[in-house]
Symmetry: D2
Subunit: 352 residues, 4 copies
């Protein structure tokens, strides 16, 4: 079975394992105070072209999301997000478990707009009984989104402007950030995120690391006492150096970018093949996740050899699936898939 | 600087790194459903000599403690523990953050007794306004305790019996379990824990793994839907295989036990030297943590070359410190410490 | 200014004040253990024609909702409700503050269906990554709903059946229950609620009491230790007798029903006048809340003399408002409103 | 049976009932925005001799405590209190249910000191792993305490000074405040509380009201958005006017003080009789709660006619009980108790 189900099917880039072996017997203090965490933080600050920010390393995305949001909000405040936002649909209510409501906005392509946020806040603030409703205080977006789509710099600037004007935090979930930063159609870089957001994270788990996310905090109020919150929510490793080492390897010579480029290239090959096969996309994603609509008969055949993620039923005889590429995707597997797809489509059409 | 501060100063046993390298390109499904997690769970069940239990792999100890306790308790119920219990003093209120109170019992050596638990429950149940107080529902103990002490089998059986009689869960924090299981003075084995507890975990972070704890659940009510809770609290790795692989290596041929034996042996050498130097222990610990009371002048000298953990002031001129050994402690470092201690004590005495 | 804004603009039915005066110097034990709470509970059990249930008296609706839901759910479970459900939109995230997500269903008239619940649960249970999502465990409905609409007995039976089949609790918010029970078009009585629901409450605040709600619990698991939860959430009055006395007065000779009848009669007069004036209703409500769509010019005039609740904008020149009647509504005020409406409509039409 | 169990055994002062009757048919807006709440707030500000504070009316003490503490603390912060503090022992973990730990200090007479608070904070701030422990951020005291004792102005000033120096909030639970303010040995008045505390409340439930507490907030950060938190925790009555009216009556002509004086006078009579009978006090309380140590044989006799609160066992043949007086205590009942005590003591001695 060849897996296109996700970008976390393999271990990690081999350079990371090499470094773990090299550093294994170094003695370091624990809980993120070691020299590797410091070095990795310095590298990330350099990429962000900004010194006045804090970098923390957490074990995973759900952990990072819930810790940031819990740190940012008072009990009566909520997190604004897309209906499809990961925090709203795929984290077992982790945000609610910290006591906070997700205030959702419709977003067919996974993206929300500055205008939507402004209107939500306006409605709240003009409500005669506003104190009976949750106060919007943080905007959560993912970039790339859960549908692989990207915010343009202009869209991100508009969101940032509206958040600052209205006193909301802007937090970007970058679980797959590499695939966004390196996407040819994107004009958003790390310095833009550091300038426009109050918090964002650079995903490791889905972009070449064994595990771990690098959280960047720019807003002074989020930075205060943040380590207490990481510890409280169980996101602080005794051997945090493991995370520091991984991000050192990823950022010391651009490895993070190179492996993102590679995954995007593999996705392009897949996208072309899907399009050539006449399959429509449920959402047009320019990054490493693809969402083709496939006839059920075709899906059945594909699944004999390839593992994919089932998304949703589209109509009586077709469904949307997701295919992911990553740093570890083998080009020969991609080629095999394209070739089989071409062959099956013929057969499927013949059956139709 | 040579570190005796803790048992998590280095990376992990080299066999684990080797296995991570070997398995790196295997494709697996995520979130604990892969073959390595299954194999590791099977090994642990075999060690426990029991099949009807669930094994989950979580990223760290705080995470494991808060998830088990949150799973076990209704909102009005609390966790009984020693005043020195890790959940009470060293996890940034992680249990309270899930809404539950720690009901503490005095325990100068870190251990609580069945009689204490029985009396606490009796007082609660005979209180005319019991509904105004927290209902004790779970007993948390650590084995070894935070002071390195151990429960005897008889003590553990008594705790288990009182918990079952009174309808409380018994949960054992085994962050350093290896050092307890292998301690010559101990008569408690994994099958005992599986028989007597409702939940316990086998610590990896402090016993040779990069990170990760293997949680064993025996009580049916704790087992139900437990994976939701791991995910909600951010303790479920996308690449949970990392944890499965580590526990496979630790348990497939007894490595976990061998490295625990080694750490205990190193501790014995240290303990002898400390005793020979005439230093009293704040608590007598038979495991890998030692708590000598040292004159401040001596401590100052030791700290020039050795990192140790400061515990508490004892009187105007001496303090309790903690020394830890682990799988990674080098015998030459232990010998150097003993030799320096011997030399300093002479000098310190001379100064006195 | 004459208030039609809500059903809680005045104090309480005068018989309640009389009884408070009569009983003022009685000495009673506290926290719901007094004879008045017991007598009121007995009266309510008799109305429900069922003995095996618990009756508790809480201070208000939000309090009752959050306490029941917190008692019913484990941390990974959520409450299914209409998008317009009071818990979802008008309680400042009280349910989320206890750690639980509201799983919303579209419901233009405020009502959800058994089929919607079944489909939501089916989708959850067939999700490959169900553990990454909230488990639906309780269905919350209000009766009458926030739009004044009512469930038929058949609809309620269907909801109950689907909940029991799928293992969910059914909880009915009866903040305005009297107006539903006595509505001529309704076929749902207290014995039906006691038979079909796991928990429901009989609203006092909006139906003649000074304040307070009578919560009826039928499911054994909700009944266990429930008093601890009331206390924990601050809903247990030292002088709970105040609540017991009020519900004694309301139920000892049918006062609750008579004042509900009266409010419904006042609503009928208003409804006729609104309809006669050619105003459409946003939602057709048979109970004591009315939701006419009124031109802004008319609204402006009405507001010179009458206080109403603004609901939402309908189009560029009209809005939906809410008018409420209650036990305390004066018929002369209703008549004045109708007469003014008639007069204004003429004028408004003339302006149009 | 004559009740000395508590100060909430009867309804309320008759002037309050009279006012409820007089105002019953007034129409008011809901949720604390009515003229009675405004008038009561103005009266309380005048008593505090300070305008820049907010006054809110909540239904009860537990509610008030949990709402203030939840409003004040970030997730990693805790509330410092006496071991005997009401929030620690008698509110079913309401504070923990909002996610916050109680950091307790030993206090045999119910009072904590500025020095204890300073030392606790110093220990926290000099802890090498402070982020693994709860950050003290709020000091909770009760005045009078749970043992009826009082802080002197000097003690309160010292606590306030240490809190301000170290950046902690000071919150005073005044469930029985009247009995403290009017106690002849006390030199603390409302203006002192308004000057020295960040939040305090003036208890109604135990001092003549049907129910309700008047919360005074002076610190700007606690005042911000506080109404959202009252609503979220279910402490905001639709007919908040009920609370406003009660505090209007209590403060418009000094009724609150007069009834406190009366209760203190009744307590003095009881105290004299207990002392004359040779009974020691477990704690010397100058206010309306008394804590005599009584032989079990005497207790048994007393309980035939008088209800008292059992506190704790003192030794094999005697126990501590609590006797309370209030605005409603009848002098004839006090005289009867004293006379019976005198008689029984003779008998008891005879038995001894």
């Amino acid at each position: 079975m060849i897996y296109f189900t996700s970008d976390y099917c393999e271990g990690c880039h081999e350079k990371i394992l090499e470094r773990l072996v090299q550093t294994n017997y170094e003695q370091t203090p624990g809980y993120g105070t070691d020299r590797h965490c410091q070095a990795a933080a310095a590298l990330i600050k350099a990429e962000c072209k900004r010194e006045d920010l804090d970098v923390h390393f957490l074990v995973g995305g759900t952990q990072t999301n819930l810790t940031v949001i819990d740190a940012a909000l008072r009990p009566h405040q909520g997190a604004v997000c897309a209906e499809s936002g990961h925090i709203n649909v795929h984290e077992t209510g982790a945000v609610e478990a910290t006591g906070h409501k997700c205030l959702t906005l419709p977003a067919p392509d996974g993206k929300i707009t500055a205008a939507q946020v402004a209107e939500l806040v306006r409605l709240h603030r003009t409500d005669e009984s506003m104190e009976h409703t949750i106060q919007p205080k943080l905007v959560y977006i993912s970039h790339p989104t859960e549908y692989g789509t990207l915010y343009s710099l202009k869209e991100l600037e508009a969101l940032s402007a509206v958040c600052r004007e209205l006193g909301l935090y802007l937090f970007v979930d970058g679980a797959r950030l590499g695939y966004g930063l390196r996407c040819p159609v994107s004009d958003v870089g790390l310095p833009d995120l550091a300038r426009l957001c109050d918090a964002f994270y650079i995903g490791g788990t889905k972009v070449g690391a064994l595990f771990g996310e690098a959280l960047v905090l720019t807003h002074p109020m989020l930075r205060e006492d943040f380590r207490y919150l990481i510890k409280q929510h169980g996101g602080m490793l005794a051997k945090d150096r493991l995370l520091g080492i991984q991000f050192e390897v990823l950022f010391e010579d651009g490895l993070y970018y190179r492996i993102s480029d590679y995954a995007l290239q593999m996705a392009r090959i897949l996208r072309s093949a899907l399009t050539d096969a006449g399959l429509a996309m449920q959402v047009e994603s320019p990054t490493n996740q693809l969402f083709p609509i496939v006839p059920d008969t075709l899906l059945e055949k594909l699944r004999e050899k390839y593992a994919v993620t089932y998304m949703n039923r589209v109509d009586g005889h077709s469904s949307c699936i997701r295919l992911c590429t990553s740093w570890a995707t083998r080009e020969e597997d991609v080629r095999a898939f394209c070739s089989d797809l071409h062959r099956y489509i013929g057969g499927t059409h013949g059956n139709g």
